[in-house]
Structures are given as structure tokens and as C-alpha cells.
Amino acid sequence: MRVASVPMPNPEPPAQTALRLEGVSVAFPERSGQIFVAVDGVTLDVGDGEFVAIVGPTGCGKSTLLNIAAGLLRPSAGLCRVAGALVGGVNRQAGYLFQADALMPWKTAIENVAIGLEVRGMPRGQAREEAASWLARVGLSAFHERYPHQLSGGQRKRVGLAQVLILHPKLLLMDEPFGPLDAQTRAIMGALLLDLWSADRKAVMFVTHDLEEAIALADRVVIMSAGPRSTIIGDHTIPLPRPRDITESRHLPGFIETHKAIWQQLKHEVMKAYADAAG
């Protein structure tokens, strides 16, 4: 059982769980003095090497879950464990690819990629060498000395991916990382991501509002309800085989049926969120 709207007592999480959220709720005080509950009682496991996509309407608290897993945000209630240990403070085992541009604009591509190793104490030369090989892996060998503003949106995402993966995080958190990119670039970035991911399977939590992208990439797609008080309302295993060619995924048998099944659930929430926003 992976979905539960009620937090259950859970003494020993299984060892193969990369991330476990247990009855996590997040509430913010509003200016009016009321309490705004963004996320309510979310319980979710992400297994080792498992690729989980989270879909849901805008403003449903998908990013909030990532921030909790990253240790950037403390849940108001519930627990967050990474590899069995409770998260307190920034989660050093997680890599986080943000939706917004998060590269340091005053550092070149290679400096941005190397910085994580450098702050961990690796000598600069060695860190740069490592960074160069990662830039090659994301196809940016020719762009070492470019500053972020001299790179295209897709190229910046590649640098971001290298910046995160070079640290070999056990858990990869991605917040609509390819959201701002055009459709073709998204497909290419998705393929690149799957390529890098299949080389050493990390646990991935991938937030997106694009259902096709979610199905094409993930092992499981988790649906969140419209906010406030959003929670997990669906959990679908994706039957597509691996390795996958992301550009061909939608023609595979099973894609349409899966899409239909998830969309039935998601549609309701999207309409609700839309109605709330409109009126």
C-alpha cells in the first residue's frame, strides 16, 4: 500500500526506501490570521532507484513536497526520512534541480559545475577536471567558459543537471525542471535525463504538470489533488518497459490506456483548480 490519506504508525521503514514521507502536512499562517494548509497528510515512498513523477494542478503543493524532501522546509506535521534517517536541516544526500534559474550568474559553466565538489573540499584542479567530464556528458564541452546569461535556456538546464549529478546524490529532486523550455528542447532534455539516470539509477522525485512527460519518464506517477489541503489521490505504476526512447514512448502499447486512466483522475482536479482560480 503506497497511498494513504491518514498517517499510519510506521515503526521501521524498509531499508530499500530512498525517501519516505509519513503523514506530512504543511501549514502557513496567512495575513488574515487564518492558517493556510497547503499539503495535508501526505504519505509517500520513493524506492531506491525508482523514478516517481508527481503531477497535479497548479498550486497543489508539489514543490512544497520537494522542499520538504530537500530539507529546505520543515513539515508542520509528519516525518520525512531519507534512507531511513530523519531529515533535519538541508538534506545532503539530495540533489535539487530547480524550476527557476539557479546557477550562480557570476560563475562560468565549469565553475558552476565544479563548485559543489570544491565546497566539499576537493582541490580546485581535480574538481574542474571532474566538471569538464560532466559538461561533456551533458553535451556542453565547448561551453566551459560561458557565463549563464550567454547560454540558452536548455543549455542552462544542462549545466544545472551536471551541477547536481556531479555530487552523486542518492535522491534527485526535480521541480518542473524543463518547464520553461520549448517542446523539442524538453523532449531532448528528457532523453538526456533518462540516459544519465539509467547509468546509475538514483531515486528521482520529478514534479511536472505535463502528464505525457510524467508517463514517458517515470516508473510511477503520483497524482495530487487541487489545493488547499492537497494530498495524494492516485498512484499509478507505469507499465512501459525500460530502457525507453522518450520520443517514441507515446506510441508504445499501454501508453494511451495509462494516460487515459491517470487523466480521468487528474482532469477532475485540474477543473477544480481552474474553477477556484477563475471564481
Binding site: 538541508v90 540533489g95 555530487l167
Partner: protein, 268 residues
């Protein structure tokens, strides 16, 4: 980027405007209308006289010592003011309580027209260079301070969160995130702060000194030597343009990572 020939024609237009102004000045002060020129050369001097005087001062070497002193005062005022602004700016930006407590005093101090401080500084630091440096420091400090404060406060939240996720501790955040962000604001206000350092120096000299460009202008004015006043202003203008060119060079080097079109506006 303007094309080469449009840049040339722009330059031609710019020179034309300058020449036109000089010509008007020349005509108004030399061509008699009904017996005497419209502008009395005693009060308005003549452009050729001003140029001749300026040339003589440069070649004769009379002006170099004064230039050197004004330059020294400007550099000292900038360095001391900027250092203070950076240190205090960082401190305030990181300590919300300190910033809140000192906020009204800083605003009051910044609102004060600095000229009124000149007599006090002259009493405290004498008529030598240090009273001028002090005046320049009070001007530079606030510009740098506000920019550092803003630079630290306005670090993009996602850049900051990303840096923390990459494993930076507080000291590393300061070095790799806060410092570069703050310095980019300081560098983009470099023209303003260097300009104000010079203003402090010249105003200080004007109000009481034994040397410097401001002193020369005050001296000339004291003996109704209008040509000397204009010549002093011309030298000052040349000095500012040269310094500004150096600042532009420094800025281009220091802010290499920035896209061209954005430059933060400085506060004065």
C-alpha cells in the same frame, strides 16, 4: 550595438553641438551689438581665452600639483568610503535587528546635505587633504552601503537555495553567493560613487584648502578672474572624463558575467 557609420555620424553630431555652443559663446562675448558685446567678457570670459589659459597651465606645469592632490583625495575618499560601506552593509544585511535599530539614524545622516559638514571637518581635520577625504567618505559610504545592503538582500532565492543544496556552509555562502551579488551592485554604482568621491574632494577644497582644483577655482573667483574659473572647470571636466573612462574599463572587467543591457541604478 550601433554600426560603425552611425557611430561616426553620432560623434560628428556631438562635436557639432560642442562647437556650436563654443561659437555662440564666442560671438556673444566678442561681436559688439550697439557698441558692446551682449555678454560682458569680464563676467563671461571668452572661449579662446579659457582655452589659452588652460593650455598654458598644463604646459607651464602649474596645474599638475593641484590635479595630483585632488586625485589623491578622490582615491582615498573612495577607498575608505567603499571599505566602510561594504563592511557595514554586510553587517546590517545579515543582522536584521542592527539594521532596524540604526535605520532612522542612517536615513537622517544620508538626508543631511554634506556641504554643511565641510566646516566641521575643516575644524577637526585641518585644511590639509584629510578634511576633503572625510567629506568624500561621507558621500561614498552611503552609496556603497545601500548597494551592498541591497545586493545581499536581493540574492535570488533559488540561487541561494541551490547553493545550500550544493552543500555550502555559511562562510561559503558569503564567499560564493552574497559577496559576488553585493559586489555586482557596488561595481554597477562605481560611476556614481567615484563621481561623489570627486565631488567631496572639490567641494572641500573650494570651501577651504591650500591646494587642489577646487582651491584653484576658489582663488580665481576671489580675484574676479572669470577666465581662471572657467579654465578650472574645464580642467575638472577633463579630469572627470579621464577618471570615468578608467572606471568604465574596470567595470567591464569586473562585471564580465553580466548581460550588457542591465545596469542597476545607483542611489545617491
Amino acid at each position: 550595438m550601433p554600426r560603425a557609420n552611425s557611430r561616426l555620424s553620432l560623434l560628428a553630431l556631438q562635436i557639432l553641438v560642442g562647437l556650436g555652443g563654443l561659437l555662440a559663446w564666442h560671438l556673444l562675448t566678442t561681436v559688439p551689438v550697439g557698441g558692446k558685446p551682449l555678454l560682458d567678457p569680464f563676467f563671461f570670459s571668452k572661449p579662446l581665452d579659457v582655452l589659452a589659459r588652460t593650455y598654458k597651465d598644463f604646459v607651464g606645469g602649474a596645474v599638475w600639483r593641484h590635479l595630483g592632490i585632488t586625485l589623491l583625495e578622490t582615491v582615498l575618499a573612495f577607498v575608505i568610503g567603499a571599505a566602510g560601506g561594504i563592511v557595514i552593509g554586510f553587517w546590517f544585511a545579515r543582522q536584521a535587528l542592527v539594521a532596524a535599530v540604526f535605520d532612522p539614524y542612517l536615513k537622517a545622516a544620508n538626508a543631511l546635505p554634506r556641504v554643511v559638514l565641510a566646516p566641521i571637518f575643516a575644524l577637526w581635520f585641518g585644511l590639509g587633504i584629510w578634511s576633503k577625504v572625510a567629506l568624500g567618505v561621507t558621500l561614498v559610504f552611503f552609496i556603497v552601503f545601500f548597494n551592498v545592503y541591497q545586493g545581499v538582500k536581493e540574492v535570488s532565492p533559488s540561487v541561494l537555495a541551490n547553493a545550500r543544496m550544493l552543500g555550502m556552509n555559511d562562510r561559503q555562502l558569503l564567499r560564493h553567493v552574497y559577496m559576488p551579488s553585493a559586489m555586482s551592485w557596488v561595481f554597477s554604482s562605481l560611476h556614481t560613487s567615484v563621481g561623489f568621491a570627486l565631488v567631496g574632494a572639490v567641494v572641500g577644497e573650494y570651501l577651504g584648502a591650500a591646494a587642489g582644483l577646487g582651491y584653484r577655482i576658489a582663488q580665481a573667483e576671489g580675484v574676479f578672474d572669470v577666465t581662471g574659473v572657467f579654465s578650472g572647470m574645464l580642467i575638472l571636466a577633463i579630469f572627470v572624463i579621464v577618471i570615468d573612462a578608467f572606471v568604465s574599463l574596470a567595470e567591464a572587467r569586473l562585471l564580465r558575467w553580466r548581460p550588457r543591457e542591465t545596469t542597476a541604478t545607483a542611489q545617491g
